[in-house]
């Protein structure tokens, strides 16, 4: 078995397939522990709520050792490509990261992404040399267009952000994965470990989440559960599942049991 199973975004080699958000945790103790047991190498946060002038002073980032993680700042809260681009430039100028998760909400109730503005922002930011990871609905055609625009990875949502509803359209996620030549990271809407395992079994390169861990009753235990689910989902994908059949077939064949 290939235990290493490493993968890449741009030039960055990664081992963990768990991207974790840093928001919503009840306190720094639980946050630090959850990040540690998750094994995550990539951490995300909203640029708008970070102290960019001095990120080591930031109320959340101060608890995270910057050398141990790759940061994936996001443009959450922005409603146009222009706004997202402006925020992305601020994050890069502060030296935090040149990776950017484009997140542009079209609707404040569902926070569903605006596909047109997301595509625009992706085009602009790719030209400016960012490593762009757009968050987008689970639309296979839209995902193809983002890839053509130069996205380093595609991040379709399983369900609206923070809902915990799981993968509402596994068929679409499967199609997106089948067609993409860049990594597909299932982002948003997951609720529990089986959701993460399913995403990985479908062949996702990784899973990004925040609320399912931070808002679990025991976020540290849930971080571990998610890590194990992601690992076992990945292994199941690599192993290749058995075909589904309509009727039973005995695992020991009948004639082998007959006493002669």
């Amino acid at each position: 078995m290939d235990i290493q199973d490493q993968w890449k975004i741009g030039d960055q080699l990664l081992t963990s397939r768990f991207f974790l958000g840093t928001g919503l945790f009840p306190n720094p103790f639980v946050q630090t522990q959850a990040i540690q047991v998750s094994g995550a190498e990539v951490l995300t946060f909203a640029i708008r709520r970070v102290n960019l002038a001095s990120s080591e002073d930031d109320s959340i980032l101060q608890h995270i050792e910057p050398d141990r993680f790759r940061f994936l700042p996001n443009t959450s809260g922005s409603r146009t490509a222009e706004e997202a681009v402006r925020i992305a430039r601020l994050a890069r100028a502060s030296g935090l990261s040149d990776w950017i998760k484009v997140e542009i909400a079209a609707d404040e109730r569902t926070l569903l992404p605006d596909p047109i503005e997301t595509l625009k922002a992706t085009e602009i930011l790719v030209k400016e040399g960012f490593t762009v990871l757009p968050y987008i609905s689970d639309d296979p055609i839209m995902c193809r267009k983002l890839e053509e625009a130069g996205a380093a990875a595609i991040m379709p949502g399983g369900a609206p952000i923070g809902t915990g509803l799981g993968l509402l359209n596994p068929y679409h996620i499967g199609l997106i994965i089948e067609e993409a030549k860049v990594p597909v990271i299932v982002d948003a809407g997951l609720g529990t470990a089986s959701d993460a395992a399913l995403a990985m079994e479908l062949g996702a390169a990784a899973v990004l989440m925040n609320t399912p861990v931070a808002k679990a009753q025991d976020p540290v235990k849930m971080a571990l559960a998610m890590r194990l689910a992601i690992e076992s989902g990945r292994l199941a994908y690599l192993a290749g599942r058995m075909p589904q059949k309509r009727y039973a077939s005995a695992s020991s064949e009948y004639h082998s049991l007959k006493i002669k």
Binding site: L24, P26, P28, V30, D57, D58, S76, G77, D218
Partner: protein, 384 residues
């Protein structure tokens, strides 16, 4: 109520529970290892801000916070009357300062549900924001004002609460040193083994209100409580508004990095830096310096000011951020009320009411089950 209670812990939660039980007719003794109000209660900035503390959704924790805010006017008035002591209680309202246009989406979603739950909040920008809080930095693009939020001066409130308890007939024993729970099955017995010699206290029931230390005691009950101390570092600038150039700060001002609140005693309190440092309550250079650097972008007048006072307290944190309030199923004479984290001052009246209701034999309402102390212990079979 014809029952006797020991309340373990003389912080604001213990004192509030003791007073409520006493006013409902119980015999109550408060046992405090050191000094009443000597830990987090005395270190708190005293903000009563359920809306700013719950930006996400109207869940059970928000409900408890809001219920407590609603109880505050009468509760604090009663403490004044019972104690004869005055303390600051200022209906200032609050501002949550946004530094990016992108913050507005979150503030608008927050405002939408909070206006359905008792807030008369509004988003302020431009001239309206400047006139509401003239000293605010022009870097702030907009702010969410919540008029319902207010603050108390926590050390004076605790002082008055101690006097109110004593006047109502609560016995308070301080400086007891290490306290041990010796019996809890047929009756409650607590032993103190401090410098002043051994002492034994007995009662029918026990209320545990030991804040950040709550994780220690009930291990004897076979219950592991996930309560951890989180250090909160705070400082106070001199802010005497009778002096020229020092304009009053009208609202409590929150941002993603901290808060500022003007007190009637001529100080501007600024908090808080949170970190994990065990039970250490010392102040660190890093913890305070990050607040000072940030404050310039909230109130430019703070650019060349230095704080006169720096201190730290231990916030009792739980795994899910919610307090532990309820009767223990494995020890029916024991009620727990701890783990209030950032909201002990705000949650004192609602906690006291719930504890006294439970003490009188009422069942917790379904939504209050969210605070059950044993919620982290799921049923598992075949456990060694």
């Amino acid at each position: 109520m014809n029952t006797s209670f020991i309340v373990l812990g003389g912080g604001i939660i213990g004192l509030a529970c003791a007073l409520e039980l006493r006013l409902r007719g119980a015999a109550v003794t408060v046992l405090e290892a050191e000094t009443c109000g000597g830990q987090a209660s005395g270190a708190a900035a005293g903000m009563l801000a359920p809306y700013s503390e719950n930006p996400e959704s109207p869940d059970e924790f928000f409900r408890l916070c809001r219920e407590s805010l609603d109880l505050y006017p009468n509760w604090q008035q009663r403490i004044r009357e019972l104690s004869g002591i005055d303390f600051e209680y200022t209906e200032s309202g609050s501002l949550y300062a946004a530094y990016h246009e992108a913050d507005l989406l979150a503030l608008e979603s927050r405002l939408r549900w909070q206006r359905q739950h008792g807030s008369s909040g509004e988003l302020l920008r431009g001239a309206a924001l400047v006139s509401a809080e003239p000293g605010l930095s022009r870097q702030v693009v907009a702010a969410l004002r919540t008029p319902e939020e207010r603050h108390v001066y926590a050390p004076d409130l605790v002082g008055a609460l101690i006097a109110a308890c004593l006047n109502a007939g609560v016995l308070i024993r301080e400086q007891l040193g290490k306290l041990e729970l010796a019996a809890w099955e047929r009756g409650v017995e607590v032993r103190a083994a401090g410098d002043s010699g051994e002492a034994v206290f007995q009662a029918d029931q026990l209320v545990i209100c030991t804040g950040a230390w709550a994780g220690h005691l009930p291990s004897e009950l076979g219950l592991e409580l996930p309560v951890h101390p989180i250090r909160g570092q705070i400082c106070a600038y001199p802010w005497d508004t009778r002096q020229a150039g020092t304009e009053p700060v009208r609202h409590m001002i929150f941002s993603s990095q901290g808060y500022l609140v003007q007190k009637a005693n001529g100080t501007l309190v600024c908090g808080a830096s949170e970190d994990v440092a065990g039970f250490d309550t010392s102040v660190t250079e890093r913890g305070i310096a990050r607040l000072l650097r940030w404050n310039r972008s909230v109130l430019p007048a703070l650019e060349d000011r230095q704080p006169i006072h720096r201190w730290a307290g231990l916030r009792p944190a739980t795994l899910d951020g919610r307090p532990l309030i309820g009767r223990l199923s494995r020890a029916e004479r024991v009620i727990l009320a701890a783990g209030h984290y950032r909201n002990g001052i705000l949650l004192a009246p609602a906690t006291a009411k719930l504890v006294a209701d439970l003490a009188q034999g009422r069942e917790a309402e379904p939504w209050q089950q969210a605070f059950r102390p044993e919620r982290f212990h799921r049923q598992t079979v075949h456990r060694p």
